[in-house]
Structure formats: structure tokens, C-alpha cells
């Protein structure tokens, strides 16, 4: 059996996704039996030219982690799409924009002004900023990738075949991917396009905390304000915001096991387009607001006002692919 030619390409990443793969430990030998790596900058020395030298479609499995932040991220995504038969979006950043896409918020101050001028340690009297192209006296040019306006998910720029969410994807999910690859290599069959390699239900089903039929809560607490958390009871009635009701299962409920509210790195459940809205509406219905007519804007506003940081709370990992970020971005364009 020929090995699957595999390329791992990096966008705007923290490399935690690479560490997650290395955390497979002994299982990495199984990966090595199955895959021949042709590109993986974090672990191997192949250069971009090595990837470009391959025929289109010659790579069997292309894995992309990180968000699309720069023109280079975009270019690499396009190269990967061309070279690979199958493209997998790996990790929350590639799936939904992830934490880096929090910088898509409509800020009144430019990101460059802050990081290259205004931070207190800065010593930049000339106001130098990184430039895409600088011409040297010799006539040569040095280039830097362009910062795109927003950070986005992989499927905002190329067609994606499979999704592995999580920040980073947890080892059991990566083991599932290995099983998929094994089956592919043995039988040539793959799951239906668009499959999310994770759980199907909500995190609540996986979490195992006891959840009353009708949850009610009076106020939300910060993690440092809570003294004793009942480890068997759902966090929400105990005053801790938990994204469980809107979040896809599959992580093993890592955060709620530690008495910490989920922030949704697995992304929304099947068919949900906007993770944050789904969660806000779940909370609203828990609040016993009359939802028969659907949620009015005022009602939504009310909920949001109770939480001083709705974006960081409900869109921690999915802002880049949310409806609300599209609204923000349209507004800015106008």
C-alpha cells in the first residue's frame, strides 16, 4: 500500500495544532506508517518550492491550521487546494477564524498604530511601520506579506472537504482522523464531503452535569467570585456562563470537568450558522423570555447588556465566521 502523501500548511497559527499532533505520542508511528509527509514547516525542512514542484492533485491529504490573516496565508491555502485531493481545516482558527479573528472587531484605532506606535515600550520617533514592499538602493525589493483586512476561516477562501474543530483538536479527535485515513488508504473510501470529525450532539450531552428542565439564573459570576462549585450540577444555574448548549460535543468536556465554563472552541452544533446568536437565544429562552414570536431586538439587547463583553464571551472562537462580524465589516465598508 503506497503511503498517503500528506502536507501540513500553516496560516496564522500558534502551532498548538502541531503540538496536538505530536501529543499522539506512540500513535505517531501509526501516522508514519500511513503518511509520507511532503511539507510540514514546524517539523520538517521542505521549502515552498518542494511543494510547488509537486503535480496538481499529487498530495493526498492537505491539512491547514491557523486563520487566514495575510496574503501569504491566502496564497498557501490556494497552493494547498491545488496540490491536494482532500483539504482538511484543522483547529478552531482554520474552522471559524478562531481567536485571531477577534481582531476583526470594528476598532476605532488602527491595529498598526497600536502595536507599532502607541504601546508604552515603543521607541519609534520616525513612525516606522512594516511595509509590504521596500525598495533598496540597489533597486532590489524586499517584501512582506500583506495584512488582509480581516482574519477569516479557511473556507472563506478555498473549498474545504473536512473539518476538525477544537483549539487545538483533542487527541481523541486526531485519533479519529487517523482512523479515517487508515480506512481511506485500505479501501479508498472517505466520509461524505463536509463531515465534521467530532461529536454530533451538544457539549451538554457529553458534559454529564445534571441539568434541570428549566434552568433559571439571577446573575452571572466571574470565575474568581465563585467559592464552591457543585461538580455534579450544570454550571449555568450556578451563575457561570457556559457555551455548552450551543457547542458541538467531542472535546470530552475538558473545561466543565475543571469547573470552568465552556467558551466554545469546538464551534457550533450542526446547522447552526452563528454560534454566539445560538447561545444568546439559548440563554434568552432560559430566562423565560416569551420567545413565541421569536426574539425581538430589544430583548436581545437586554441580554447582551447584562454581559459587558458579549463578543469575547459568545464569539471567542467563531467571530471570524459569524453573521455579526459580516454586519460589522459591511458597516465599516460603508
Amino acid at each position: 500500500m503506497a503511503k498517503l502523501k500528506t502536507a501540513i500548511v500553516l496560516g496564522a497559527t500558534c502551532a498548538g495544532c502541531d503540538v496536538a499532533i505530536l501529543d499522539l505520542n506512540e500513535k505517531i508511528f501509526e501516522v508514519d506508517d500511513l503518511c509520507e509527509f511532503v511539507f510540514w514547516p514546524t517539523a520538517m525542512d521542505f521549502k515552498i518550492d518542494d511543494l510547488l514542484a509537486l503535480e496538481d492533485g499529487e498530495v493526498d491529504i492537505g491539512i491547514y491550521h491557523g486563520a487566514i490573516r495575510t496574503s501569504e496565508d491566502l496564497e498557501m491555502a490556494e497552493i494547498l487546494r491545488k496540490k491536494a485531493k482532500v483539504v482538511v481545516a484543522f483547529g478552531a482558527c482554520a474552522n471559524f477564524g478562531g481567536i485571531p479573528s477577534l481582531d476583526n472587531l470594528p476598532y476605532d484605532q488602527s491595529l498598526f498604530d497600536l502595536v507599532y506606535e502607541q504601546v508604552p515600550s515603543m521607541d519609534n520617533p520616525q513612525g516606522t511601520v512594516p511595509l509590504e514592499i521596500i525598495e533598496l538602493k540597489s533597486g532590489d525589493e524586499l517584501t512582506l506579506p500583506k495584512m488582509l483586512k480581516d482574519a477569516g476561516a479557511l473556507n472563506s477562501v478555498i473549498d474545504v472537504d473536512y473539518y476538525v474543530p477544537g483549539c487545538p483538536p483533542m487527541v481523541p479527535l486526531i485519533e479519529k482522523v487517523v482512523d479515517v485515513l487508515k480506512k481511506f488508504s485500505e479501501t479508498g473510501t472517505l466520509p461524505p464531503k463536509g463531515t465534521v470529525i467530532a461529536g454530533e450532539g451538544t457539549l451538554c450531552e457529553e458534559c454529564g452535569r445534571e441539568k434541570p428542565e428549566q434552568i433559571s439564573y439571577h446573575a452571572f459570576f466571574s470565575p474568581q467570585e465563585t467559592k464552591k462549585i457543585d461538580p455534579d450540577k450544570c454550571l449555568i444555574p450556578q451563575g457561570i456562563i457556559c457555551m455548552g448548549p450551543a457547542t458541538r460535543s467531542g472535546c470530552g468536556a475538558l473545561c466543565t470537568k475543571m469547573n470552568v465554563g465552556c467558551r466554545g472552541c469546538m464551534g457550533p452544533t450542526v446547522k447552526v450558522k452563528d454560534h454566539g446568536l445560538k447561545m444568546i437565544s439559548a440563554l434568552t429562552s432560559l430566562l423565560e423570555v416569551d420567545t413565541e414570536e421569536g426574539m425581538t431586538e430589544e430583548q436581545l439587547e437586554k441580554i447582551v447588556q447584562r454581559i459587558p463583553d458579549p463578543l469575547g464571551t459568545f464569539y471567542r472562537f467563531t467571530y471570524g465566521s459569524s453573521l455579526i462580524s459580516k454586519l460589522h465589516s459591511d458597516k465599516e465598508d460603508k
Binding site: 495544532c17 514547516p41 520538517m44 495575510t70 481567536i99 515600550s121 515603543m122 519609534n124 512582506l144 487545538p168
Partner: protein, 437 residues
Amino acid sequence: MPKIYEVEPVTRLEGHGGLILKVSDDGKKVLDAQFNVTTTRFFEKFVEGRFMEHVPRITPRICGICPIPHHIAPTKAVEDAWNVKIPPAAFKVRELLLQAKQYSSHLLHFYALAAPDFIYGPFADPAKRNVVSILKDLPAEGKMALEMMEYGQALCAAIGGKSVHPIVSIPGGLKNPFSEEHRDFFLKDWERQVEYTKKTVEIALKVVTDYWDVVANVGVVPTWYLGVAKEDGTHDIHDGMLSICNPEGKIKRYKPQKYLEVIGEHVTSHNYGTHTFIKEVGYPEGVYQTGPLGMINVAERMNTPLADAALKEMRDKIGTNPIHNVFAFHWARIIETVAAIENIGNLLKDPDIVSTDIKTMDVEPIAGRGVGMVEAPRGTLIYDLTSDEKGICRKANLLVATNHNLGGIDKLVTHVAKQIIEQDALKSIKLPDPWVK
């Protein structure tokens, strides 16, 4: 016309970088060499508006290889801003978490990122020159390396909740205690890990001996150094003083809150990463290096016996203090690995480590500014966070390992390029036969 060579991407490092080398038209003179960070993610901006206590849950995504220091440093900054004192047991569990990460990250760096060069030789086929090949060609060492990294990562997960991107640290202490079962589990395997670490030291010493010509002669570039150490000079990754060492070895120590007196940030137009420098000498004279070699150069001693003996051996063998040999970075990393496993043992044996008194309730958001500093495996992290009275983060300034090291890397790369191209150093340098051909 000068020629420009570009290497893209620079591999076996986490993050994005490109290397640019400018050489004179006759190909004989190196005009300049730069290491450029080709992306950035604006963390300083988007932690604004977040709850202060959630900053430690966001910033670990700056680096997936060392997320734990990026979890603890901002927690300390919040506590500094809000005047919070944490229980002693919480301090110890955080230290255990940091040491566990130090252990797994240094080993990952040594075995997975660096070892391919000396095991296969720097000129081997790229298809061969990587960690997977090592695991197959040297199964005994490979298995040992995997078991060591797994120990560190599993300990990180047991304390932090996840092995990558922890969630346990909050202002006032920790969300969850470290359980007795976990303590017993990791204590049971600890002695074997010490044996493994000793074997790793042997491997590292063999590399140093084999490559002595390279260690002693390539990339010996005096710079400043920056790291963390206790006031008396003892190595400390968790709660020390910001320490700098000039190229002649004169050391000064400052409270982390004074970092703006010590460090400035410089921007160049070819780089998304900013270059930090020592303010008292300015840029570029004041570029410095941080990480294991910086830590060793600003320390008088290690805080554990085996590591301290290893440090003395290194200083004796190289013969200078500070040590300017860039290839001694690996050696320094191994000394810190020894310190990590010894500290892990001491902490696991401390009865406080399973204490449930790990969280103070005396935590009230107030308007204020705080600085938190810890040492990450690749360099010092400084978090400067400003809170409003509701506990929302209003301003942030983060200095991380990449900023610190950029100036030093440029200086080093230029130096090494000159050695290789102008002095044809590779010809006269003795390289050993690769371990595996």
C-alpha cells in the same frame, strides 16, 4: 549589484519566519542578514475590552508550544493590577505547571526540532532530517524522548485542564486543586524521568564533544542577555527579578514593574515583529538574547543540585562568563531541563501540592495597572495590563520571546553568514560523521 537570497519558510520553528541574506555582487561579502517575522496577530488590541480574568484564557494562543507561561504571566499581571495575594499552595501548583511545561517544551525543542541536525548532519536530505526519522532509526532514544515529552504534557493536562491552552489559573489562585491521585501517579514515574534526563544529558554532552569545533568557533557573538532570576541571582522561571547582563558579564536586576526603564521597542519596515533593546545603550547596540542562554547568563546558580553541577561544568568547559556561543543554547536548555525535573520532584513531594486552599476570595476588580513576568522556554514574557473599575481590560502591552530575540538573531545570522561566506569557515570547521547516515 548585491544579490539577495531568501529562505522561505525557515523551518522547525513555531511561527512564520523568512531569512534574507544580502551578498555583494562578487558573492564575497555579506552586506546584511535579517530574520523577518512575516505575520502578526494583534493580541494587544483584541484583549482590550475582554474581562481581565479571561485574558489568561486568550493569550496562550500566542504560542502553542509554550501556552502555560502565557497563561500564568497575564494572571500575575491581573493580580498585580488588583492587589491580590494568592495562597502559598496556589503558588506552588502554578510553579509545578510551569516546570512541567519547561520540561516538555525543552525536550520537544531538543529532540524534535534540534536533534535532526546533529543526528543526520546539517546537510542530510530534508526527507530524512526530522523527528519521525529519529524515532525509527534510534528507537530506544526515540521511545525515551516520547515518554519524557508525554510525562511533561500529561502533567500539564492534569493541572491545567488541557495539555495545550490551559484553563486553570484565575486571579486569586487556581480553579481546581491538584488531586492526590495525580500526585501519586506522577511521583511514581518521577525517578525514571530523572534517569531519562541523565541519559539526555549524556546525549547532549556527546553532541557538544562531537561538535566542539562548531560550538567553540561558530556564532560566538557578544550581545546583551535578558532573563529572570531571584534577587540573589538564583535561577527562577516563576517569580524573579528582570535581570540583564551586559556583554562583559555585568548583571543588573529590576522589579518587573520597572521594565519600561530597561527595555525599548524598535520597528523596522521589513518585519512584523518589533525588536526590543536595552534602553541604556539604545538600538542596535543594545540588542540582546533571551531564553535558556540568557537565563544561564543572568544567573549565579541553579536552584537544584544536579542542575547547578551541570551549570558549573558548562562554565568550566567553555571558559567564559557570560557565554556567547550560540550553539551553547542547547546545552543551557538541557541544564534547565535537569532543573525542571528536579523541581518537579521537590514540588510533588511537598504536602502543600495537593492542598485545597488554592484560591483566595479576596479578589475585587479595581482600576489599575499591573505587570506579570515569567520565563517561557524561549524567553522572558512581560505582560502589562490595565484594568478599569469594572474589571475590563483597557490596555495591554505584551513583550514576548520573539520580540526579545529578533535583534540578537539578526546579529547572529549576519555573523554566521560572514563566517561561512567571507571566511569560508565551513571548510576549516570539523564536523563529525552523522550518527545515522
